[in-house]
């Protein structure tokens, strides 16, 4: 059931068992930034670097929280539903609610900042 060592490692929030530098490609990040809105200003060369780290932290937090859902369900495979549950349970992930509920097939509140396609399953 619960593996104390692993679980506490996640709870401590500082699992830095990095095997190497995994940086996200700056050019790709810049592209996404440019397409995030209609009148995006010029982007300094250093901004994508900051984003790269922020994204890493974001993914780590989302993964951690999703994993906690997996554990609650007593499973060893992290499923889409776990990610969705993590989003629902976390305030700052509110902007993802439409995205995860779209995947689940149910419509929720209309989008605010993001321009996602409204598709019904």
């Amino acid at each position: 059931m619960r593996q104390a060592g692993t679980y506490s490692a996640i709870l401590s929030g500082g699992v830095s068992g990095r095997t190497g530098p995994h940086s996200l490609p700056l050019a790709r990040i810049k592209k996404i930034m440019k397409r995030s809105g209609d009148d995006v200003k010029m982007i300094s060369g250093e901004a994508p670097i900051v984003f790269s780290k922020a994204c890493e932290l974001f993914i780590e937090e989302l993964t951690q929280r999703a994993w906690m859902m997996t554990l609650q369900g007593k499973r060893r495979t992290l499923h889409k539903e776990d990610v969705a549950a993590a989003v629902m349970a976390t305030d700052i992930f509110d902007f993802l609610v439409e995205m995860v509920s779209d995947s689940n097939g149910t419509q929720m509140a209309p989008a605010t900042k993001s321009n996602i396609s409204v598709a019904e399953r």
Partner: protein
């Protein structure tokens, strides 16, 4: 690896490389844990959405400060405003580290670059000398000039 990871040039879909993302994800989890494919994809999409959100806010922060270029400070401010203030410290540290790393080549004086050039030059001379020596061994002893080859008659 899917073709989408490599190409990614379609105007419609700009995403993040799944391989890199997957590595980051896996490192957060115990080694025996599996991540379903659809969960992976969703995590990547969420990350892109995160960039969209923070970019929009950074853009607004930049406008409010009446600047024309989105700078790291704007992004940090945006993170705070959006509730990701916890990230700011680590993100800032990474940014500072990056600045230090890229400052490796000093401006004046004995820079590592100069020395490398000198060394490279010396190395080049040495290699020429070695090559000459090899040629001399292979052929009859002849005096070789520095520049052009002197063809044997």
């Amino acid at each position: 690896m899917e073709p989408m990871d490599i190409v990614g040039k379609s105007k419609e879909d700009v995403s993040l490389p799944k391989a890199t993302m997957f590595k980051i994800i896996k490192e957060m989890l115990p080694p025996d844990v599996r991540v379903a494919r659809d969960a992976q994809d969703l995590l990547v999409e969420c990350c892109v959405e995160f960039i969209n959100l923070v970019s929009s806010e950074s853009n607004e922060v930049c406008s409010r400060e009446e600047k024309r270029t989105i700078a790291p400070e704007h992004v940090l401010k945006a993170l705070e405003v959006l509730g990701f203030g916890e990230y700011v410290e680590e993100v800032y540290a990474a940014y500072e580290q990056h600045k230090l790393d890229t400052l490796d080549s000093p401006k004046g004086g004995k820079s590592s670059i100069e020395m490398t050039e000198e060394e490279a030059l010396a190395e080049q001379q040495r290699m020429f000398a070695e090559a000459r020596a090899r040629m001399n061994n292979g052929m009859t002893l002849q005096k070789q000039s520095d520049s052009d080859h002197v063809l044997n008659s």
